[in-house]
């Protein structure tokens, strides 16, 4: 449902993506792993329409979205949980969730908020709290909940495990798996390759702007190169 061809993105003179190809099929969890500065966030920001590529295209359900403004892309069903969460720190938990539903005009917003609260009961207890005062893990839950409020067909997740304790990371990954089982396709960017490969169907390895390896997650998990570079030997 998401198809990326020959994508080139640069920041001034820095070429961050040098012609990557990537595909996400309906219902999958696909992960992109790679070291710092590989271009993972750049890929997601380009899909979301925040960055514009120099070359190449991105298609969503066979529609070219490369030149569309960010709000149209959200409206079509692609929503991102950005790196570092980027919740609206001085708004309440509830208002953050409402921002996720910004473009929706249907009557299901309230019941979808209940669904998010079921997924993250911690957020329900704190729905009036100012988001900036939440703990790191709670902020990550809020960032995911906020994106879910847009009712995405594809959820883009940028390093949801960043800065979280191992036990919290496990919870978050379990939730991601559940979200996928409920019918949302997922493109997950991670440095925690072990966790990412354990829940993904397929994976891409990104190295300084190029895709160096791709394949089924179960296969890449046992690949010697992946083990050596990303799974700690």
């Amino acid at each position: 449902m998401l198809e990326i061809k020959n994508l080139n993105v640069s920041y001034g003179m820095v070429n961050a993506l040098k012609g990557i190809n990537l595909k996400v099929n309906d219902g999958e969890i696909v992960t992109i792993i790679g070291a710092n500065g590989a271009g993972k966030s750049t890929t997601l920001m380009t899909i979301s329409g925040i960055l514009k590529p120099k070359k190449g295209y991105i298609k969503f359900d066979d529609v070219d979205i490369t030149k569309k403004p960010a709000q149209n892309i959200v409206d079509m069903g692609i929503c991102q949980v950005p790196e570092g969460r980027r919740i609206f720190a001085n708004m309440t938990v509830m208002e953050n969730l409402e921002m996720g539903a910004y473009l929706r005009k249907d009557k299901m917003v309230k019941s979808d908020m209940e669904k998010v609260f079921n997924l993250f009961p911690r957020l329900k207890e704190r729905h009036k709290q100012i988001a900036g005062t939440l703990s790191g893990g709670e902020q990550q839950m809020l960032a995911i909940g906020r994106a879910l409020m847009s009712k995405p067909k594809v959820l883009l997740l940028d390093e949801p495990s960043m800065g979280l304790a191992p036990i919290v990371v496990q919870d978050i990954f379990k939730t991601i798996k559940n979200i996928n089982e409920d019918g949302t396709t997922i493109l997950l960017v991670e440095q925690n390759a072990k966790m990412a490969l354990s829940i993904a169907d397929r994976a891409y390895v990104l190295e300084t702007g190029n895709i160096s390896l791709e394949g089924a997650a179960s296969v890449l998990k046992d690949d010697e190169r992946v083990k050596k570079s990303y799974l700690g030997g």
Binding site: S48, G49, I50, P69, A70, Q71, V74, D75, C79, Q80, P82, G84, R86, I87, F88, A89, N90, M91, E95, E98, M99, G100, Y102, L103, G132, G136, Q139, R146, S150, G163
Partner: protein
């Protein structure tokens, strides 16, 4: 005691006007980190629109006020669209210099089109004093109009910002514009809306000043613009309640200094107080030290 209360009321009237102007500075700063130097001139255009509406078209107070708000709103939105938007991703300094340019254009354009002469505002409300508690408190009907209109505007603004979708989008964009985009917010439209509201509030201030002081001229925006900007910084730039309190405080300080000292020292003393407050609290009265959680 009588002088004190009298000056306090004068100060609050003047301060309400500063606060209305300061709100525009602070909202625009909050959303695009720009000091809109042309804001004082948008206030001047509002005052003149109200003047023409009531003098030549014989419109009443409320229609004149609404017309002034509309004209300033269109002017503010146009300035953002034409002068600032193309520079939004360029350096901060180029957009700041553009703002100064727009301000000079409006001031000198005003002198050419409107002539530099000072105009006398029509007496929309014939002055009448009310006194309470054996004359300890006296207040004019014009001051009452200023208070009532300012309160309506500020309450209205709070409702827009905290209760409407557009207001939430404004707050979201001012915290993190790209994150707001990721939620589907149209940032350009949100910025336009912010300029619209800020400019309309400046027009209200312009009309109220005309009624209160009776005289207007094309350069009338410079000094109140500067003071309102300082009021916004005093309250904590980018923070809306800060602009309200900062404006009122600025007005009261000015009135008390004029009442007890001399109006010659008025500006000097108010600026000195400002410097002292900022030395103690650099982020302004309502400012928080920016603290980020990773």
């Amino acid at each position: 005691m009588k002088t004190f209360i009298e000056q306090l009321i004068n100060g609050l009237s003047l301060g309400s006007i500063y606060a209305l102007i300061a709100l525009g500075y602070t909202m625009v700063y909050g959303i695009m980190k720009l000091i809109n130097f042309a804001h004082g001139d948008i206030y001047m255009v509002g005052a003149f629109t109200g003047f023409f509406a009531s003098t030549y078209f014989h419109l009443g107070f409320i229609p004149s006020l609404l017309l002034a708000m509309l004209v300033s709103l269109l002017l503010g939105v146009t300035i953002e669209r034409v002068a600032y938007r193309p520079l939004r991703n360029k350096s901060k300094i180029s957009i700041l210099i553009t703002a100064i340019g727009v301000s000079l254009l409006l001031e000198n354009g005003g002198i050419i089109i409107l002539s530099p002469q000072v105009r006398t505002y029509p007496q929309i409300f014939k002055q009448h004093m009310y006194s309470f508690f054996n004359g300890i408190i006296t207040i004019s009907n014009q001051q009452i109009v200023i208070f009532v209109v300012s309160i309506i505007m500020m309450v209205g603004l709070q409702i827009i910002i905290y209760k409407t979708k557009m207001g939430k989008a404004m707050r979201a964009v001012s915290t993190d514009a790209d994150a707001a985009k990721l939620m589907g917010v149209n940032v350009d439209r949100t910025v336009s809306f912010t300029f619209a509201i800020g400019s309309a509030l400046a027009a209200v201030a312009g009309v109220l000043v005309g009624i209160y002081y009776n005289s207007i001229d094309p350069l009338m925006g410079i000094m109140p613009g500067l003071k309102a900007f300082i009021a916004a910084v005093l309250g904590g730039i980018g923070i809306i309640p800060g602009a309200m309190v900062g404006g009122l405080l600025m007005g009261v300080i000015e009135a008390l200094v004029s009442g007890y000292g001399s109006s010659l020292y008025r500006d000097g003393v108010s600026f000195a107080i400002l410097i002292i407050i900022l030395l103690i609290k650099p982020t302004g009265l309502f400012g928080k030290n920016v603290r980020e959680k990773v």
